[in-house]
Amino acid sequence: MQKAIYQSVFNNKVLFTFILLILLLAPLFLSDFRLNLLGKFLAFAILAIGLDLLWGYTGVLSLGHGIFFGLGAYCMAMYLKLEATGGKLPDFMTWSGMQELPLIWLPFQYPIVAIILGILLPAAIAFLLGYLTFRNRINGVYFTILSQALVLVVVTLFIGQQNITGGTSGVTNFETFFGFHVNSSSTQTVIYLITVVVLASVFLGCRKLVKGRLGNVLVGVRDGENRMRFLGYNPSNYKTFVYTLSGGLAGLAGMLFVLQVGIISPTMIGIIPSIEMVLWVALGGRGTLIGPVIGAVFVNAAKTGFSESYPEYWTYFLGALFVIVVVFLPKGLMGLVEMIQERRRKVDVKQSGIKESNIKESSSVEVEKNYS
């Protein structure tokens, strides 16, 4: 029943087209600075969709998506850096006493290779990690904690390998992208439009996936992993698949992020950003695809707004948001919309005299049951 509601409101083609149109026309009425911010948020939204596939649909909570985001971002950054230095060693390598380009930087001289690796590399690492943990039926909570520890380890490693990764400073100071000046207004507009198009395609692609039988199977894995085994499914394959997919999407988001922000550093892939990513999804509404997009844009807009006006209180606000959303609004903003929809329905139903018990029961079950 709830599905039907979603379909009527949020998967409405008109609404989708409308939003897409606004986003595509945004360059006309936003200043360069604001457009750049919006583009960054939309890049985050791509990651949020991937994270939601994993958490909202499959029930696996990863607190380590910063890593995949970072890997994608670093891939792109390495290419940009090499193009900026014109084939010479990046400055941080010379200080660290490197004589020539390290082997792992070599493929990134070619933009196409960099872009492909930016998706494949995070996906491959997600696959490996997912395979090792899910295969052994490591409990969901364990996985979450492990994913967080992984962040710690990767960040430590990235900071430690200063000669290769640029350490805490990360990689920055880029000049051109495919020969275009990367910071110029027109290039930025084009990159923004690319981001919008990529986001729309990712959204549609994922929607096709979850609306199909796969979506139902994933929900099955989320709500009753063992039960799915006795229906003949191998849940770890599905989990690994979704984890890999969402790792790839995070990498994609990371690449678009670097193009627009012009820097990637280990702080962006650390524990706090990784948890914030989860908040985007939680606030927007897990288990819906539009929710994370809204959540990502909303939280980041709020963050920018808040920290411009009241930097000291942003932390309080962020913390409170977490508590409120998780405790009182487990389905996020989308759940709220749904609730309003349902109330309206209830009234309709009463009027037409059909017995109400079904709906009531379904909503109470909704509240009790949850995604953990």
């Binding site: 943990t133 909570v141 520890a149 039960r227 939680a282 998780v326 405790v327």
Partner: protein, 300 residues
């Protein structure tokens, strides 16, 4: 030879610190299945309690009794952290039983707010706590020196471990707690107030975080982010040890402490961290649910 003894001692010492911070978690996470990410901030509360006690003694107590502040801080930190834990349980956690992942996110939010609160009260910079004079120096055995503060922490973690064991396995109130955690409905039928037990158990877990915070003032910085430095290590201990097993937590803490020290000694601190993580992943391939597990027949 001395090198080996020293490494063993350092491993034991690190292990005892890990155990101390993980004990509370072993209770809240292990027994109650609540992932309390604010555990680190409860540690922080314990540390700040020590700082406040020190200042009180500096200002109001005669000089010769100054060292007493630390001894007094331990029970007070326990009580205050337990009190905060109670408030937390009452206002938040009780809505989140059976939703472990949600409890993780919500308590992370609480942790953030507590950190910012500490920043507002005590300021962002670290505060200094002077170690009591009786913990200065160390025990000399031949050419080796075992710092008293380290020995004290080892002792403290043993005391905590024993008292937790005694409470859960030797008192009727502790038995009630275990009964509730094992079979909630059944315990309820037998007239145990599960709400009360939840509250008390969570408070105990939180209280021991406070004690850990108190002990950490001997070793490191006391600031708003003290908890975040330790929280992940603490969770690793519980994951490796196996949920719901005190013995597992002990083994996990000592194991991680020992290997970490060895790895760090042989390579360096950064690489040591990476190696420990890989070791844990490898270990979980072998024992997916930790060292000590209980088998159950239920389907999820």
């Amino acid at each position: 030879m001395t090198q080996i003894i020293l490494t063993l001692f350092n491993g034991l010492s690190l292990g005892s610190i890990l155990l101390l911070i993980a004990l509370g978690l072993a209770i809240t996470f292990g027994l109650m299945n609540v992932i309390n990410m604010a555990h680190g901030e409860l540690i922080m509360i314990g540390a700040y309690v020590t700082y406040v006690m020190q200042n009180l003694f500096l200002n109001y107590a005669p000089q010769q009794y100054f060292d007493l502040y630390f001894i007094l801080s331990i029970p007070i930190a326990l009580l205050i952290a337990a009190g905060v834990g109670m408030i937390l349980e009452f206002s938040l956690i009780r809505f989140l039983y059976r939703r472990p992942l949600d409890s993780l996110l919500a308590t992370w939010g609480v942790g953030l707010m507590l950190q910012q609160l500490a920043r507002s009260i005590f300021g962002a910079p670290n505060v200094g706590v002077q170690s009591p004079s009786f913990l200065n120096g160390g025990l000399e055995v031949g050419t080796l020196l075992f710092p008293y503060s380290r020995l004290f922490i080892i002792g403290l973690s043993i005391v905590c471990l024993v008292s937790i064991y005694y409470y859960f396995y030797r008192t009727s109130s502790g038995r009630r707690v275990r009964a509730v955690m094992q079979n909630r409905q059944m315990a309820e039928c037998l007239g145990v107030s599960t709400r009360k037990v939840d509250l008390i158990t969570f408070a105990i877990g939180s209280g021991f975080a406070g004690v850990a915070g108190c002990a950490l003032t001997l070793l490191g910085a006391i600031g708003p982010t003290i908890g975040t430095n330790y929280i992940i290590d603490a969770f690793m201990v519980v994951v490796v040890g196996g949920v719901g097993a005190l013995f597992g937590a002990v083994a996990g803490a000592l194991g991680i402490g020992f290997f970490n020290t060895v790895f760090e000694y042989v390579t360096n601190a950064s690489l040591g961290k990476v190696l420990i993580f890989l070791l844990i992943i490898a270990f979980l391939q072998w024992r997916p649910s930790g060292l000590v597990t209980s088998r159950s027949r239920s389907l999820d």
